[in-house]
Symmetry: C2
């Protein structure tokens, strides 16, 4: 089982984490805090940190912090210097970056971290993000065509120094083989680059590609280029289907399906008891829970109002309730409701959160991870911690040892690079089979 | 006197620095080395580090290292975390970057470094660089129009959080004032951005602007936006003229001329004796000196060949020699030649280097700096060290104390931010007088 840790705004994945007791509310601007959390994840032998990104400000800042770091590359540069083994994966848009700039900065991070960098290559479809670049949003086929071109040109630039190009022989005065550092001269429909990059290979050659998009276009991107995929899925069966789809996409691109690792999201709520875990979430949701009650109602095909927040569903409501087909989290919400919890406690079960939420002691989370993993639902997990300040330590000190005892998780890093951690094969430059026409 | 330290490829400013004894030839890929040099400069109370950049590979890699760091922003992120006071100035092209990306990354560095970031905003006119972005080079007026737009939009994005916008009050749950974090909606001819940035102010508000370009267009850029200018000049008179031109450009833009500090380049050759200093350079130029003899000849209006490299000019040659009007370094070259040095030693005086080279003991360099400074030629210097590994320590341990004794250089930092170090006035957002139409 391979674990990745979500790092976002410096508080945690719950939108009100910035208000939690013992959290410094200035953490959004604190690289010290990010470094501390990264070091904690490394103590737990996490394979990688994963930083979402969005090129803009996307938050109701009145009450919520932005969900991203100030700048993912600067954050990872800080972390690279303060960690030794953990992989460093940042999201970067193929829609609003030039391949030369992406290639240069990710490879610099890869060299700086001694082979631990990964690029989560995404397309961006938000009109506000486009407006930050004075643009509109191009139609989907164009966005994905640009994504293919950007990834291929980036990989080719990464390979523009052959692996043995850098001689640096002080005696003979030969710095490098000029014939092994050559332009790539790639011309796509939307982006192009001459090269070469000014950067030699890293310990893993070049960064690893991640992917997070769904749909047919996203599957094709992942199948061709990715060694890691971040999924959004709420049941073992669905996760199995998604994982299988990515594996087939890899096979279709002529790759070994084992080269692509599928990570299911998880947002554990951990306490000394189940009640304790729920109370942690209840407290975090103090300001927001009431506003979420109507949506909870829509998931159950019921009209629910905030006045009922501290009551369970009535017998009549329970009889009338059914899971909404429009939200995959609805069956779980109904299951929890039937256990008789108040609406506030139902919400504290994370039934409207972005990923499944095991609620209870550390062993409940360990059970969830083990069950999904052993069922073939995923190769590992993308762990989002509710409040980083104490939550990462809790996961590392309580969940990780259980997974280790059960023999499903490593006791230490086996290799030194992100490629090692993912079991990804050696790869350098652009796979010639994938070259642009 | 304000000092800035040039940081480039991890070796030093002489092209063969990578071969020098005690230099690790792998330093080009070593962020540890860059951090070590930055810390040494900070020990010498340097106001800032200055990193040139070029978006591409520009070197005869057979024998020479590229002159730039792998990526200036990643290098400065590493340094920011390992230093406390020194300013961090990186070059970034206005021609091949989107203002949103420039604004975000420089302001993230500014927050990370607690107010020590600066952006050297340049235009890029090299066709190979353009080709790295699939482009050609636009005519100069368009490049400079884009530069103005990019700088203005970047400054406006930097100011898109009002300075008191971030409340982060855990008790009331108010994270920020939404009405104080607003889009900028700026539309230029070449670039545009909506904003806001996802980044609050730093301790100095926002990064400081540097400029390095000459010509009428460069003067206008510097005059309107810059608090620091890096000059290339070989005589006190010329430096005075350049400095005055920048000061007048600032006045023309409605600013106080003292807001713009002019830095003259200097490339000291320091030894226990003058002969020792020359030998240091002779050794570094072992492979390259012969190839530079013909150019030295052209500077003196003589035909010179490598076979004469270990001889001085003959009496006949000296009588015929005259300084070439096409190279401002020629008068100095002739002056040195008349002292009777061999061609190899003339070259070791740095007569073909990019900046003046005081040659001798530390006091010779201190004399040069003091003379230029007291003559009003500059507000300080951009110091390029021949071989960083030992050269920065030599400058800090031998030249700096002399300047301090002579009362022309500070004993410690007075302030905490780059703006403090430069004596630059408070500035936040875009000066409304400069707004795009």
């Amino acid at each position: 089982m391979i674990l990745g840790m979500h790092l976002g705004n410096g508080y945690g994945s719950q939108s009100s984490a910035w208000r939690a007791p013992n959290v410094n509310p200035a953490n959004y601007a604190s690289f010290d805090a990010q470094v501390r959390y990264a070091q904690a994840a490394e103590r737990g032998k996490f394979a990688f940190l994963f930083l979402p990104d969005f090129p803009g400000l996307q938050a109701d800042v009145d009450h919520e912090a932005p969900q991203i770091t100030l700048d993912p590359m600067m954050t990872l540069a800080a972390i690279a210097r303060a960690t030794e083994r953990i992989g460093l994966v940042a999201t970067g848009s193929t829609t609003f970056n030039e391949p030369f700039n992406i290639a240069r900065q990710f490879k610099a991070l890869d060299v700086m971290s001694h082979g631990r960098a990964g690029w989560n290559a995404v397309t961006t479809s938000d009109p506000n993000a486009a407006a930050n670049f004075g643009q509109g949003i191009a139609p989907r086929p164009q966005r994905y065509q640009r994504a293919h071109e950007t990834i291929q040109i980036t990989q080719a630039l990464w390979g523009s120094w052959q692996q043995d190009a850098w001689i640096k022989d002080q005696k003979t005065g030969r710095f490098a083989h000029p014939d092994k550092i050559q332009p790539i001269n790639m011309q796509g429909e939307y982006v192009a680059s001459r090269g070469p990059l000014p950067i030699p290979p890293s310990e893993q050659g070049q960064p690893v590609i991640f992917s997070a998009g769904g749909g047919a276009n996203g599957l094709e991107i992942a199948g061709r280029y990715a060694n890691g995929v971040i999924g959004a899925t709420f049941t073992i069966d669905d996760a199995r289907r998604q994982r299988q789809a990515y594996r087939e996409a890899a096979a279709k691109a002529g790759r070994n399906p084992d080269e692509i690792k599928f990570f299911a999201g998880v947002m554990p709520a951990i306490g000394k008891t189940k009640r304790d875990a729920l109370d942690r979430r209840v407290q975090l949701a103090e300001l927001t829970a009431a506003s979420r009650v109507p949506y909870l109602g829509s998931m159950l095909n019921l009209q629910l109002g905030p006045s009922q927040i501290d009551e369970p569903l009535t017998a009549q409501q329970l009889a009338a309730a059914s899971p909404s087909p429009f939200d995959p989290r609805s069956p779980r919400a109904l299951e929890v409701a039937r256990e008789g919890w108040t609406l506030r406690d139902i919400l504290a079960h994370g039934v409207i959160d972005y990923h499944p939420t095991p609620v209870g002691t550390a062993s409940v989370t360990a059970d969830h991870l083990q069950e999904w993993f052993e069922a073939g639902a995923c190769d590992g997990f993308w762990v989002s911690i509710d409040v980083n300040e104490d939550g990462i330590d809790t996961f590392v000190d309580e969940v990780v040892p259980l997974l280790q005892e059960r023999g499903v998780y490593h006791h230490d890093y086996d290799g030194a690079t992100l490629r090692d951690h993912l079991g990804a094969p050696a790869h350098y430059g652009l796979d010639p089979r994938l070259a642009l026409q």
